[in-house]
Symmetry: C2
């Protein structure tokens, strides 16, 4: 039963916030209260932004990255190196790489990682789209797999590398090691081991 | 400049989330991504809940509590004791008290606390509404001030108690002390001092 002080419209709004990833009950209620502090115009603009984002954002037909254009800005940029495809887990990873402004190739966004524990089989993520793309694009020379170095990320990287082997395309994996500015003292044994394995000559 | 990977509709949505209280840039972007995981119907229902809450929720003309009815459920409940008014900082405090289901009086919601540091003067919160209400309602016998025991909460309590003194209404303040289940070891000196001052005979 709702307590006497409860407000139906506020509870409904909190319930909607609660459907967003990683938002607990208390935070959902706090956010619902925050909406009441907006002006009516701001609240309407917020509502429109939600519907607008959902309506206009879709997957780029080339790289599967989220975009509100027909083809995403990276794929439609003639200055980007189309011979390299960097495979990432999601758009967040892509945005992180783009922020560095070092990588000039294209991407392929998987929208997930293989995870038998969570019932995510290879057909549930955009692996077949990658295979179809590579089969139809003879320009690609290298596929860099940049999934996170977690159990799922490693398994997905391994799966894709095995799939691509027969295609004769060079498949690489981003390096593991001590983060720049990090301390050996706080690195876990696996990272340290990989840092040694990946050592390079001066 | 936006990086090549940025998506205008997503950035706009993240900016809207960022206007809610206590939401930083990273969380705002995470929430914007979460919206994309909703179905189109869910996103529309979310948008409607925002506009709906903002449109229907207003202050109760009696106690200033947020409500989506003409008069709030507490004020319109004939079984509530109208001789006692509990003054609280905001609707969140009211909901916390209502949850306990012990207090059977009515409320007055200030929507803020006096804070000269933040430029919140007594006229910026709903103190005059309390005075007007008490002046027009001879039924009220006691005003319990239940603002938080912070510097601002104490100052506001003191200010209201001084204002009400000439009215001949009993003005009380909720007790400070060690929380039930708490440990003396971890209580600060002010709390301990108040706990001793407020000691009661068995």
């Amino acid at each position: 039963m709702a307590s006497a002080g409860s407000i139906a419209a506020l509870d409904l709004l909190a319930e909607k916030f609660g459907r967003l990833g990683g938002i607990g009950k208390r935070t959902a209620m706090r956010l619902a209260f925050s909406v009441l502090d907006l002006s009516e115009e701001e609240a309407e603009a917020f509502a429109e932004a939600i519907v607008g984002a959902k309506k206009t954002i879709h997957c780029c037909p080339v790289c599967q990255n989220l975009t509100d254009r027909e083809v995403c800005p990276v794929c439609s940029d003639p200055t980007r190196d189309k011979s390299t495809v960097c495979v990432v887990q999601d758009t967040k990873s892509l945005l992180a790489i783009e922020k560095v402004r070092e990588y000039n190739g294209t991407y392929h966004v998987l929208h997930g990682l293989i995870s038998p524990m969570q019932g995510i089989t290879p057909d549930r993520i955009k692996i077949k789209e990658l295979i179809t793309r590579l089969a139809g694009d003879s320009e690609v020379r290298e596929v860099i797999i940049a999934t996170n170095p977690t159990a799922e990320g490693e398994a997905t990287a391994m799966y894709i590398s095995k799939l691509l082997k027969p295609c004769g395309i060079k498949v690489t994996r981003i390096a593991n090691g001590i983060p720049v500015g990090g301390e050996l003292e706080y690195a876990d044994q696996y990272t340290l081991q990989r840092a040694f394995e990946g050592r390079r000559e001066f």
